[in-house]
């Protein structure tokens, strides 16, 4: 008797809860857009209604116009390609060096005692401080820029790989020992898969730093690239061009980060991570 009375009551509370769950899944990302969209529309309106001339802080429509104009003249793709090439080359070099050094330091205690103090000391130097030296050593052109980006990418990857290897669970390694894996098989079948999640994170951090350092690199005398657009916009008083370059940086940064995420996703499906709960 009590059951038949209780059940409809339970259903009543459950239905709105399911609806609110659906609503929040859809609404949460939208909610995050409310503030920027309101600010942008507000600024657009303020300029349109004449409360501001919008010269130093151009309205969104002006920034959009600038992007379209740059794209139309072919200028934009030239700058984007120049920047992408620098980030790509610097990232590749930094990742290769960071991975090799990190793996050596993580795997061999002797190598870690020998190398790690030096690497950590170098890490303590703000990487921008290398700029004058890199220009003296490598010239003002591409090489010094790529080198600076590579230095920025190197440290998070090095630390990520070394830390990941050092923190591989002894119990999992013991499983490898029980099945008498050789050194190489132990690396391939136990260590590599175990360090992969942390490695992907370090790649993403490294890429983020790569985008940060490309701006610094392009500030030190470039004739093309998104960083050049920033400097050019400042020197010629074109705030819309600066904002356009910033927007494109944001889009490219997010896009390349997303590419790493997508590429790594099939390899990390096994993870018992917070985000996979409920999805399975």
């Amino acid at each position: 008797m009590a059951m038949t009375v209780d059940l409809p009551a339970l259903e009543q509370t459950a239905a709105p809860r399911a609806a609110s769950a659906r609503w929040s899944r859809f609404a949460r990302p939208v909610l995050g857009l409310v503030v920027p969209v309101v600010l942008a529309l507000g600024w657009e309106l303020a300029v349109a209604l004449g409360y501001s001339n919008g010269r130093l802080v151009p309205p969104p429509s002006k920034v959009f116009e600038t992007i379209v104009a740059l794209a139309g003249s072919g200028e934009l793709s030239r700058h984007i390609l120049a920047t992408l090439w620098r980030v790509g080359a610097g990232f590749a070099l930094g990742v290769v060096a960071g991975t090799i050094m990190g793996a050596i330091s993580g795997y061999w205690n002797f190598a870690r005692r020998l190398l790690d103090p030096t690497v950590q000391a170098l890490r303590a130097i703000p990487s921008i401080a290398w700029v004058p030296l890199f220009i003296l050593w490598l010239g003002i052109f591409e090489t010094s820029k790529v080198a600076l980006i590579a230095v920025g990418v190197f440290f998070p990857v090095y630390l990520g790989v070394m830390g990941a290897i050092l923190s591989v669970d002894r119990k999992v390694v013991e499983v490898g020992r029980v099945f008498r894996l050789s050194g190489f098989a132990m690396i391939r079948r136990i260590l590599l898969p175990a360090v992969l999640p942390a490695y992907v994170v370090s790649l993403r951090v490294g890429l983020g730093l790569g985008w940060m350092f490309v701006v610094a690199a392009e500030f030190m005398g470039a004739s093309e690239g998104l960083g050049y657009l920033l400097i050019d916009g400042q020197q010629l008083g074109k705030p819309a061009q600066i904002l356009a370059a910033i927007v494109i940086f944001a889009i490219l940064g997010k896009l390349t980060d997303w590419l790493i995420e997508i590429a790594a996703a099939p390899l990390l499906r096994w993870q018992d991570a917070f985000s996979t709960r409920g999805a399975t």
Partner: protein
């Protein structure tokens, strides 16, 4: 024949974990090692597995001295220790990498069926319950067909129902190829249900205190009076093993002595 000859272990930090442990274990025999904490049970098991080397004495299997993990010796740990990046089927086949793919697939499939997890073949370890995960670990250890299987408190993390289930299941699987089983446990019930012989150890330093032969026919009825008698016998031995005033009886006890009534 697995022979332990005066096996002793002192860790580098000076802890004297195990002292002159000797036993001979026949092929197909099921041994339970029981004792208070710190009595060197796990140390002994790791020495037999070849994971840690004994500092004195020797472990030999069919006259081969064991100093490192051996193809004929498998081990199941307290936690399943499945590799989280491999599916259930790949975890079970982990030790069969040297076999041709089709043979491996066949062996894994029959092992999956044997532990009643055929429907979980492509699942990730994180999707299994504790009992299922431990069943996968048992299958992984058994599939290379070891002659000796070591179990380090394999069911202690499971609830009472699952534990009882897996104990019966383990005996079932054991009957297929009859490997030697050496089981470290805290659980007197488990020792009496599974073992042909219970070795009671005493702590600080760990050494053999008493051997009790459980000559009960299988399957054993946990509720029978005879079962209780054996349990009481093991419990009494355990109590005595922790009483410092009782002298070691290691040298006098033999397998036949358990027929005391």
């Amino acid at each position: 024949m697995l022979a332990l000859k005066e096996v002793g272990k002192t860790y580098p930090n000076g802890v004297h974990a195990l002292e002159r442990f000797s036993a001979e274990i026949a092929p197909g025999e099921i041994i339970a090692i029981i004792g208070g904490s710190g009595c060197g049970k796990s140390t002994l098991l790791r020495a037999i597995a070849g994971l840690d080397r004994a500092t004195t004495g020797s472990v030999t299997l069919d006259n081969a001295v064991i100093t490192s993990p051996h193809a004929k010796i498998g081990i199941i740990f307290q936690e399943p220790r499945l590799l989280p990046w491999l599916s259930v089927a790949d975890n079970i086949g982990f030790g069969l990498a040297d076999l041709p793919a089709d043979v491996r697939r066949e062996r894994v499939a029959s092992a999956l069926a044997r532990v009643a997890l055929a429907d979980k073949a492509s699942a990730w370890p994180r999707e299994l319950s504790g009992g299922q995960a431990q069943r996968v670990a048992i299958a992984r250890a058994l599939v290379p067909q070891p002659e000796v299987l070591l179990l380090d408190e394999p069911f202690s993390a499971l609830d009472a129902f699952t534990r009882r289930d897996l104990q019966d299941h383990l005996l079932d699987l054991w009957a297929d190829t009859r490997p030697t089983l050496i089981l470290v446990t805290h659980d007197v019930d488990e020792a009496v249900v599974l073992a042909d012989r219970v070795l009671v150890m005493r702590p600080r330093p760990g050494r053999l205190f008493e051997q009790i032969t459980i000559n009960l026919a299988r399957p054993r009825d946990r509720k029978s009076e005879l079962f209780d008698t054996f349990k009481r016998r093991v419990l009494t031995a355990l109590d005595r093993s922790l009483d410092r005033s009782v002298r070691d009886v290691t040298d006098k006890s033999s397998a036949g002595e358990a027929m005391w009534w």
